[in-house]
């Protein structure tokens, strides 16, 4: 047809491309063999430098070639004037820049650049910072570049406040960036070192600014977790909660010598100090206002899991008992909106419920402890319950009694009815245990009951409504396994 431009057919084009590729490959392989031969012969000359450069510029991810290059450079360094060494390494840097253009995430290139920069007689750190900025503006999550930049900052001693401004800029252009937020969290403590006498004036001012920044982020996009993580870190700086101080009296534990009388005592640490540190008035008011903002966000986004979880943690820090009911209902919502992490929330909730029960525990009640009907999925803080003689775990969702349960050396009576227990690992070497009730659980094999044999005083065992009771000869087998049990309910 008149005027129509004639084009090569696709087959023609592909044939040409294939030939081109073959030619390239041949050149590449020849050069590679030449380089390896030279290295074998220990030749550290300019020609080798040139050959490796050709190879690396088409494929910068061959570590062997970089290593060879470094050997050559180290050798040349010894035989050249300083001026020439400077020139040599500067050439190396501009070569590396071209490699980074080919692949901005090449491990080999970035590592080599770090090495070269460190060896350069007169390094130009401003230039290197500029390079990092360019790379990060193309991809603000290039962690190779972040790594290299950290090195540059360290070597050139960029002031901390300038670096904080740098993160300001990156966060401003895109706040979904862990690297920037995390970098902030390492810079702030340097900028505002906390004085030992707990006068956090400067720090609190800065904290308020940070709260504002991060709130802007999570109100803008509440589903972006990078900001929430940073917020958690910030709050952590304000409250230091969940630190259980070690109890000084409990040093001797000898569960493996049954029959030996051991006396246990408990330090009279005030319960208030157990699960959170005392908050200063200022901190309480700061946390209180943070809780308010989060509640405000929750009103707008009732389904947001990050917000719910943060509220729960704030409430824990402020008044765990006072907010118990709200905490529970938030956990309920959390499990509904984020079923994938239901078990995690269950465990976290169990932990909080146990903490609350311990906090509520009167000193007189210290020997009788009830955790029944609290939807527990896991047991923790058992170390706080060493003196307990009677424990009630009925009507929860426990799957097992964990090994740590063996810490309850004073335990005499255990009630754990209506759970889903299938494993009794923790009922092991409990010297005083007499009475165990495990009605309506999921114990199904005789071997599951094996740990009980190590409890010498066990006389009463209630196993009604467990699958194990359906086994043939169960009665005689049990009599053999647990001879001390006189009162067996099946």
């Amino acid at each position: 047809q008149h005027g129509r431009v004639k084009l090569k057919s696709t087959a023609q084009q592909e044939e040409e491309k294939r030939k081109e590729r073959e030619k390239k490959l041949k050149i590449y392989v020849t050069a590679r063999d030449a380089v390896f031969a030279k290295r074998k012969n220990g030749m550290l000359d300019d020609e080798a430098l040139l050959l490796t450069q050709q190879l690396l510029s088409s494929n910068p991810d061959v570590a062997t070639l970089w290593n060879y290059r470094r050997e050559i450079l180290l050798h040349l360094e010894t035989i050249r004037e300083e001026v020439d060494v400077q020139k040599m390494y500067e050439d190396e840097l501009s070569f590396l820049e071209s490699c980074l253009k080919v692949n901005p995430k090449s491990y080999g290139s970035w590592h080599h650049r770090g090495w070269v920069s460190a060896r350069l007689p007169r390094p130009d750190w401003t230039r290197e910072l500029g390079l990092c900025d360019r790379c990060l503006s193309l991809d603000d999550r290039n962690f190779h570049c972040w790594d290299y930049r950290r090195m540059v900052v360290k070597m050139s001693g960029v002031p901390v406040d300038q670096e904080l401004q740098f993160t300001d800029r990156l966060i401003g252009s895109n706040f979904s960036n862990y690297s920037s937020w995390h970098y902030r969290s390492t810079l702030l403590p340097l900028l505002h070192p906390e004085s030992p006498d707990h006068s956090h004036r400067v720090c609190e001012e800065q904290l308020l600014k940070e709260y504002e920044l991060v709130q802007n982020a999570f109100f803008t996009d509440p589903n972006d977790q990078s900001a929430w993580f940073y917020y958690r870190w910030l709050l952590g700086r304000g409250m230091y909660c969940y630190v259980v101080p070690p109890l000084p009296c409990l040093t001797v534990m000898c569960p493996y010598f049954p029959g030996r009388s051991v006396s246990w005592c408990r330090d009279s640490a005030t319960d208030q100090e157990l699960f959170r540190s005392e908050l200063s008035v200022e901190k309480t008011s700061v946390l209180q206002s943070e809780l308010q903002s989060c509640n405000q966000l929750l009103e707008l986004e009732p389904q947001n899991k990050w917000c719910l979880l943060t509220i729960i943690l704030l409430m824990r820090a402020l008044d765990p008992l006072g907010y118990e009911r709200e905490t529970l209902s938030h956990f309920q919502t959390l499990k509904e909106v984020d079923p994938m992490r239901g078990a995690y929330y269950g465990d976290l909730c169990s932990k909080f419920m146990i903490e609350n029960t311990i906090l509520k525990m009167e000193y007189a009640e210290v020997r009788v402890f009830s955790l029944s009907d609290k939807n527990l999925t896991t047991l923790c803080h058992l170390d706080q319950l060493l003196l307990v003689t009677h424990i009630n775990l009925s009507s929860n969702q426990l799957l097992r009694l964990p090994p740590q349960f063996a810490m309850l050396q004073c335990l005499e009576v255990l009630e754990a009815d209506n759970n889903a227990i299938e494993n009794l690992e923790g009922l092991y070497h409990l010297p005083k245990l007499e009475d165990v009730s495990l009605k309506n659980n999921k114990l199904s094999r005789l071997s599951d009951l094996q740990p009980l044999a190590s409890c010498p005083k066990l006389t009463r065992l209630d196993l009604r409504r467990n699958p194990v009771t359906q086994l043939v000869n169960i009665e005689s087998e049990l009599a053999e396994l647990l001879p001390s049990v006189t009162d067996l309910l099946l």
Binding site: G3, K8, L138, N142, F175, F219
Partner: protein
């Protein structure tokens, strides 16, 4: 090329070089049609054109003068044929009014000259007195020439058939040295740490003389449009590879006029995050609403009840504060309050989908002005063999009496050229054929100002400003402020385009907005006065008002024309160019239903050259325009400008900001974390 050299047969003849016509020309030529593309004007792009300042002055004179009336000459046609005359008069531009507020005092110029001279002569060793004298002479001679241009009648003369050639003449005569100096002076001004901000007083005043002298740095669009980054124009530029002929910049800010103040509209996620004017709750509400709009079709329950209500009513139910509603309605959806809910949602969605493709706003702007775009398509057409004639028109169509179809045209030189299809811009159609055409008007204003409407860290901002009705009943005005790095105005100035659908003359519609947002000096050259709140508002140095006919809504059937004559309507008032592109595609489909519309141009290395034609020996694809193609004025001009830009670029004038390459962008590879 003399007209008698034109072949006498073409497949498609296209009259008018506006965007739609140029796209059709490129599309037809690309698939092998023989295309003749003519325009009676001396420049490309018709009402889509961009002009240098001096070029615009010529254009103004042209439209201020009443042209010769349509003469109904009897054309020679053969038996069984009849002639249908086209109009030789363009009536699409009306109410042209020009106001100059910049001073013309010559001493101002001299001050600039001295500075320029100092800068220029500090480069060689020491300025000898002889050189100094010589320079002054050069300057004064060039000033004289500009004054000549200022005198109206000279310009009118220049608007004759050779206007295009004459246009660049005065500057061409100035020795290149003088230009060099000028450039350096500009650089110096740019490089010095923003005298405008620190001390407003010593800021160099820009005189009219200087504007004229720097006239070639201006590229003033007749229609002011931006390119939606996912609009049909950008898609077409990418698809057809025409994007390689142009460069683009991101629009950097979306602004709005609210409560007597210009403020930034937070529209992207980063904007919302960084906004100081919104409370955190507002941020959430805005983000929530925008996120909903992004895929509103998935949530019909949210808006179904409002399908018969207006978008504004819908916004009222969304717990949005008053300023959020303003932002969404005027600056994001850019609709009037009474449009229906779904239309408003769709407009919002379009805006949001365009965000982030090339930058933090949804818009691109072509360097050197919008007039570049039709020229890019013309270039594509020429590369594939299309023939171009400017300053040439079609006097009449030759109709076959039997079929009623157009079988040939008679051009302005009297040559008869046959064709199977004829495409014509609306402005060429005579009164008789457009009796039933009911057109609207667009009001336009072009301002040259001395500073940005909202100063910021960077002087190089490209801003879209939405201005809601300043008084009840007045129109919604759209304003685009261009900085010098867009290559549309001289450094130190801003080019401001105002556009609205007309209710009166352009000046009646737009002057109230101009007077609210800008300072209009009472006497020429008066120092810009302090604004009432102490903040300085930009002063208008020069202003142009005009109305342009808008036939975009006219249906083809309203024209009384043969079926193989296709009409391209004039530019519409909308912000994007979607209408023109859709129209071009529709016409192309009628012309060649079987062919693909603008398939990608092949890579130069994939083209097989016959070795027979002269183009086979050509140095390369880009340069090797087919031999028949005219070396068009426009291309020569733009090449010159390109060089100029490169010169400027070397001295650091342009391009601190990066330009955007329009291409299919891939999402960045996610790394880390």
């Amino acid at each position: 090329m003399a007209a008698d050299n034109l072949p006498s047969v073409f497949d498609v003849i296209i009259l008018g070089t506006g965007l739609s016509e140029s796209v059709i020309a490129a599309a037809c030529s690309r698939v092998g049609q023989r295309v003749l593309h003519v325009d009676r004007r001396s420049y490309y792009a018709g009402n889509w054109a961009s002009f240098t300042f001096n070029g615009l002055l010529s254009w103004i004179e042209e439209y201020k003068q009443a042209g010769p009336s349509d003469e109904a000459a009897q054309e020679k046609v053969e038996e069984g044929e009849e002639a249908l005359a086209l109009s030789s008069l363009d009536t699409s531009i009306t109410n042209v009014e020009v106001f100059c507020y910049a001073s013309e005092e010559p001493e101002e110029v001299e001050e600039g000259v001295k500075d320029g001279a100092a800068a220029a002569w500090s480069v060689p060793q020491t300025p000898d007195s002889e050189g100094e004298v010589e320079r002054c002479l050069l300057e004064s001679s060039s000033v004289e020439e500009e004054e000549a241009v200022l005198a109206g009648d000279e310009v009118a003369q220049a608007s004759g058939p050779d206007a295009g050639a004459e246009e660049t003449q005065p500057e061409g005569e100035v020795p290149p040295q003088a230009y060099e100096t000028q450039g350096e002076w500009q650089d110096e001004q740019q490089a010095s740490p923003s005298p405008a901000e620190s001390q407003p007083e010593p800021k160099k005043q820009i005189t009219y003389t200087k504007i004229v002298k720097e006239g070639r740095r201006f590229n003033i669009d007749l229609v002011s449009k931006l390119m939606y980054s996912r609009g049909s124009l950008v898609d077409l530029l990418i698809k057809s590879n025409v994007s390689r002929y142009a460069e683009f910049k991101n629009v950097t800010r979306i602004l709005t006029y609210r409560n007597g103040k210009v403020e930034q509209v937070p529209c992207s996620r980063a904007d919302v995050f960084g906004s100081k004017q919104l409370t955190v709750v507002e941020k959430r509400m805005l983000m929530k609403f925008l996120t909903f709009c992004l895929d509103f079709e998935q949530h019909p329950e949210e808006y179904q009840d409002f399908s018969v209500h207006s978008f504004w009513d819908f916004l009222l139910t969304k717990k949005l504060t008053e300023n959020l509603r303003h932002f969404i309605l005027h600056s994001i959806a850019m609709v009037t309050p009474d449009v229906c809910t779904v239309e408003g949602l769709r407009a919002t969605q379009h805006f949001l989908r365009c965000l982030g493709r090339y930058g933090n706003t949804p818009f691109l702007f072509p360097l050197y002005g919008l007039g570049e775009i039709p020229q890019c398509f013309c270039r594509m057409c020429a590369v594939f063999g299309g023939i171009y004639c400017l300053r040439q028109s079609v006097r009449c169509l030759v109709l076959d009496k039997e079929s009623g179809k157009c079988k040939a045209v008679i051009d302005s030189n009297g040559q008869r050229i046959s064709c199977s299809h004829f495409v014509v811009e609306d402005g060429y159609i005579g009164l008789d054929q457009r009796k039933n055409v009911d057109s609207r008007q667009i009001s336009r204003a072009v301002l040259i100002t001395d500073r940005s409407i909202l100063p910021s860290d960077s002087e190089q901002q490209i801003s879209l400003v939405t201005v809601p009705p300043v008084e009840p009943g007045s129109p919604v005005v759209r304003m685009v402020e261009l900085c010098s790095s867009t290559m549309t105005c001289m450094p130190g100035t801003y080019l401001v385009h105002l556009t609205c659908s007309s209710s009166g003359s352009a000046r009646e519609d737009l002057a109230p907005v101009v007077s609210r947002l800008f300072c209009i000096p009472v006497s020429p050259g008066e120092e810009s006065k302090e604004g009432e709140e102490g903040s300085e508002v930009p002063s208008v140095l020069w202003a142009l008002y005009f109305n342009m006919r808008d036939t975009s809504a006219v249906d083809r059937s309203s024209y009384d024309l043969p079926s193989n004559v296709h009409v391209c309507t004039s530019p519409d008032a909308a912000l994007g160019s979607d209408h023109a592109i859709k129209l071009a595609e529709a016409v192309f489909r009628q012309l060649l239903p079987e062919e693909e519309f603008c398939p990608p141009a092949p890579n130069p290395e994939d083209i097989i050259y016959d070795g027979e034609g002269p183009q086979g020996e050509g140095p390369g694809f880009e340069e090797a325009d087919p031999a028949e193609a005219l070396p068009s004025q426009g291309e020569v001009e733009s090449a010159e400008r390109q060089e100029e830009a490169e010169d400027a670029g070397e001295t650091g004038d342009v391009a601190k900001q990066e330009t955007v390459a329009v291409a299919e962008n891939e999402p960045r590879p996610a790394s880390e974390e």
